[in-house]
């Protein structure tokens, strides 16, 4: 195809590609290289020490915990929402679809503030919570709540178009053959959507681990207690502890790279994203 392009448009194409590469290089590759270069600036030993330091370990643990809670909940919610939207007709369906997208369009800071407003000491449920000795804001539950709110469109958004495209015929066929609703889900629906689901989970996980804004508002930044990895990075950086900051940041960058590789291999292997999801 390219051979048949006129000379001038071939030059234009090269120019465009060069521009795109320069852009990506400057905005993506350079920072990524900088993260690793800075993290390893004082050698592997210092890098290692920064990662096993107790506060860093606790930040990593908390991040994993938050992801371990919010991602499965997200999967359950995403499946329910997509199922409802794709397989049933009901009033207010389009409103529901719009609402699901809300966390994408709202600033994460607002998402965090909402929970402070609800559960903070001065918030609506604050006094009741204080009386009963339950801490949500400036504690782990608040971080989990904020993360769930920010991430909840991911799985649903992947599944809704996929399930809508697949229609109801497969499920109806299974039911007509005598399968119960649960078996139909397990043996027909789930295999049909598995790659889309995995894709959604990957993106959701990356966001859950990397979320800064919403978590920052509700966390309170208590070292070793309510700091997730992104928050920990910020604190270290503000303390001019660059090597440690970039060391932890490099883990997040690695997460991003691994996610990217998995996502691309999913797309490549199953043609997902081009409409077919076998």
């Amino acid at each position: 195809m390219s051979a048949r392009l006129p000379h001038r448009s071939a030059r234009a194409r090269r120019a465009l590609i060069a521009l795109a590469l320069a852009f990506i290089g400057f905005f993506l590759v350079l920072p990524l290289v900088a993260v690793f270069a800075e993290a390893l600036a004082k050698g592997l030993a210092t890098y290692g020490t920064a990662l096993v330091e107790p506060d860093a370990v606790s930040a990593i643990k908390l991040t994993l915990l938050v992801a371990a809670i919010s991602v499965p909940l997200n999967v359950v919610f995403g499946l329910c929402a997509a199922w409802a939207v794709a397989k049933f007709d009901f009033r207010g369906k389009s409103v529901l679809v719009t609402l699901i997208d809300l966390p994408f369009s709202v600033s994460p800071v607002v998402a965090g503030l909402v929970y402070v407003l609800l559960f903070g000491a001065q918030g609506w449920f604050g006094p009741w919570l204080v009386d009963h000795g339950v801490r949500i804001i400036f504690a782990v539950p608040g971080i989990v709540l904020a993360t769930i709110l920010v991430t909840f469109p991911f799985v649903a958004r992947e599944l809704i178009p996929l399930m809508q495209e697949q229609g109801r015929a497969d499920e109806e066929a299974a039911l007509a053959l005598g399968a119960t609703g649960f078996k139909t889900f397990l043996r027909v629906t789930l295999p049909n959507i598995r790659w889309g689901l995995l894709y959604g989970v990957l993106l959701c996980n990356a966001r859950a681990m990397g979320e800064f804004g919403a978590v920052s508002v509700v966390s309170g930044h208590l070292r070793g207690l309510t700091n997730t990895m992104p928050l920990h990075v910020e604190i270290l950086y503000n303390e001019y502890n660059f090597v440690a900051a970039f060391a932890v940041a490099s883990l997040l960058a690695l997460l991003a790279l691994v996610t990217l590789v998995l996502k691309t291999s999913l797309e490549w292997k199953f043609g997902y994203g081009r409409g077919s999801a076998k």
């Binding site: 015929a169 497969d170 109806e172 066929a173 039911l175 053959l177 119960t180 043996r187 049909n192 076998k278």
Partner: protein, 349 residues
């Protein structure tokens, strides 16, 4: 025996079915025929238990099953696009119905596989059991869908546009084969189609639906030769229509009296329907003149298209192909040997 009583169903403001009564005899091969939007698929889904009527009852052998979901009706359903499970092999697809049974009624895995193989033989696909649906042709997928539906030994087989997605030759083969299978397995079968030829060729009885109402129920012969309404006459088989005026049991078109008996006694504007083969060539000045605008061969006869009486409505008539075809632009004359007349109101309905 399946019977439907006063079935009505609406989707919002759209009345999909209105007051349907229908009895299907055991062993019968029944066609639900109609244009898209006539309610035929909705009716099939109500019989299956995939949709539920707003009013009316469905009975299987006298037992009221109106509220029973599809899983409990013991019907085999073949979907329009087959709805084969893409991630399962052909054998797993066929065995699915048996493998999801409750543990007490579920046959052993080896038995399920053996049964699936039997069915695969029955639908003449032996050897393809380990393939995936995407590796099969349309006709093969159709057969797998059928085998899968038959695996649970249904009393009733329901097929939604079973040949819709297939090319003409495969379609014809599969039709014949399905008819054989129906006899061989002593099934009661109901299929939905918009193709009148398919319905006439395959079915014992044809139910013609239009806008949610049954227009006629009858054998293919009855529906074709004695259509009860203008809709049936126009929809089933090729048909020419002439606007006529009826007076005293005689039909008049453009001042020409058409010499066919009018059975119903009414006077006024009407529509006269006749089939292309229900004509005979005649002498000039006798019968209806036809200005020929096209001729092509259709099997053993010439299909001649032209406008009646020069500028009148278009009509198609069949002439014996033993004679030379008429020239385009020439005029010929024909008489109608058999026709039906419908009062004009029927058309507006």
């Amino acid at each position: 025996m399946i019977s439907l009583h006063n079935i009505s169903k609406s989707f919002g403001a759209f009345a999909a079915l209105h007051d349907i009564d229908l009895t299907v005899r055991d062993g019968e091969f029944l066609a639900l025929l109609g244009p898209s939007g006539s309610g035929k698929t909705t009716l099939l889904r109500i019989i299956a238990g995939l949709a539920f009527p707003d009013e009316g009852h469905v009975r299987f052998n006298g037992e009221d099953v109106t509220d029973l979901p599809v899983a409990e009706r013991k019907v085999g359903f073949v979907f329009q696009q087959y709805a084969l499970f893409k991630h399962m092999t052909v054998l797993d697809n066929i065995g699915f119905g048996l493998s999801v049974r409750r543990r007490a009624q579920r046959p052993a895995k080896s038995k399920i596989r053996a049964r699936a193989r039997e069915l695969l033989d029955l639908v003449q696909l032996d050897g393809l059991g380990d393939r995936y649906p995407a590796q099969l042709s349309g006709g093969q997928q159709q057969r797998v869908a059928l085998a899968r539906a038959l695996a649970v030994e249904p009393q009733l087989l329901l097929l939604d546009e079973p040949f819709g997605a297939l090319d003409a030759k495969v379609r014809k083969e599969l039709r014949r084969w399905l008819r054989q299978l129906h006899e061989q397995m002593r099934l009661t079968s109901i299929f939905v189609t918009h193709d009148q030829e398919e319905a006439l060729e395959l079915a014992d009885r044809v139910v013609v639906l239009n806008r949610g109402v049954i227009e006629q129920i009858g054998t293919p012969e009855e529906v074709y030769m004695a259509p009860r309404s203008g809709f049936v006459s126009g929809f089933v088989g090729d048909c020419n229509s002439l606007p006529v005026t009826v007076r005293g049991n005689r039909a008049q078109f453009d001042g020409i009296t058409i010499d066919v008996p009018v059975e119903r006694s009414f006077d006024g504007p009407a529509r006269l329907d006749f089939r292309p083969h229900d004509v005979a060539p005649s002498e000039r000045d006798v019968g209806l003149p036809l200005q020929v605008s096209g001729v092509y061969r259709r099997g053993g006869s010439w299909r001649v298209e032209g406008s009646v009486n020069g500028s009148g409505p278009l009509a198609e008539i069949d002439l014996d192909a033993d004679h030379a075809p008429p020239q385009i632009g020439s005029r010929l004359a024909f008489t109608i040997t058999r026709a039906r007349v419908f009062p004009i109101e029927e058309r507006a309905r």
